[in-house]
Symmetry: C2
Subunit: 154 residues, 2 copies
């Protein structure tokens, strides 16, 4: 159906090494700001959002709750987030990014975006915009939609 | 520089869950054909290529040589590949896909492509073609080009 036969390759096979390399490009930026990859994901999730429970946060970034606790401890010790008990339910911990956390997040993000812009600069403009549009659309698809009713033909 | 401010997110953060879900969609297809993810990568690398050494093959699919040996054993036992000593250097093992291996590879691939086509069918045509074009371009960039001279701003 799609018009890319001949040099066609599986999407996952093309995207996986790209993602691996993009992450490798982020690691020195994160290290320079003393933030882990999960820590950065937490800052991204909390920035602009109101307070959230740890459970909701873990789910929103696709981490398990156990793993995230160490990350939250580190971020809190570094003064990048705050954890306060929910006044409505003292067993629930509400989370918020601090002003310092927001500054660190912005600094990391702008270095990452600068690198992405460098890579995307080689792509002609209409293609670049289309690529980002489709990437957003596909990345927003729920897992069930991608794995779907996909029946092997065997 | 790029025109996707506002709802902009890091490329890796968008692409990583997409890749994870695309791989999840491939697993039942692979299982139905009795091939592992690495086994499928090997079949893809050998199909259409002349014989290759194990070292070259491991490098071409981004696997380490140790890991790939078990995969090659499985593929050979299933009759999907052949390993023969290089007549010029008996220490080197040359690899080739068999006719059966090629059939299995094609069956897996067409099921994977059918699922990709289903996902891409929702994308308007010019965007779809541009997305695939840019994905191919970016995935062909060498790692050094992506990680690059990327200096954190800290």
């Amino acid at each position: 159906m799609t018009d890319h036969e001949g040099e066609r390759r599986d999407l996952a096979a093309m995207l996986q090494p790209l993602v691996r390399n993009l992450i490798a490009a982020e690691l020195p930026v994160l290290a320079a700001h003393g933030v882990s990859m999960w820590g950065y994901a937490v800052l991204n999730a909390l920035d602009g959002e109101p307070m959230r429970t740890q459970a909701a946060l873990a789910q929103s970034i696709g981490a398990d709750k156990t793993r995230i606790i160490g990350t939250l401890d580190e971020l809190q010790e570094a003064g990048l987030i705050e954890r306060t008990p929910d006044p409505d339910d003292r067993r629930v911990r509400l989370l918020a990014i601090t002003a310092k956390g927001r500054r660190v997040r912005r600094a990391v993000q702008s270095a990452i975006w600068a690198n992405e812009d460098r890579l995307l600069a080689a792509i002609p403009e209409p293609d670049r915009a289309a690529f980002l549009r489709v990437t957003r659309t596909l990345s927003a698809l729920p897992r069930e939609e991608i794995v779907g009713s996909h029946e092997p033909k065997a």
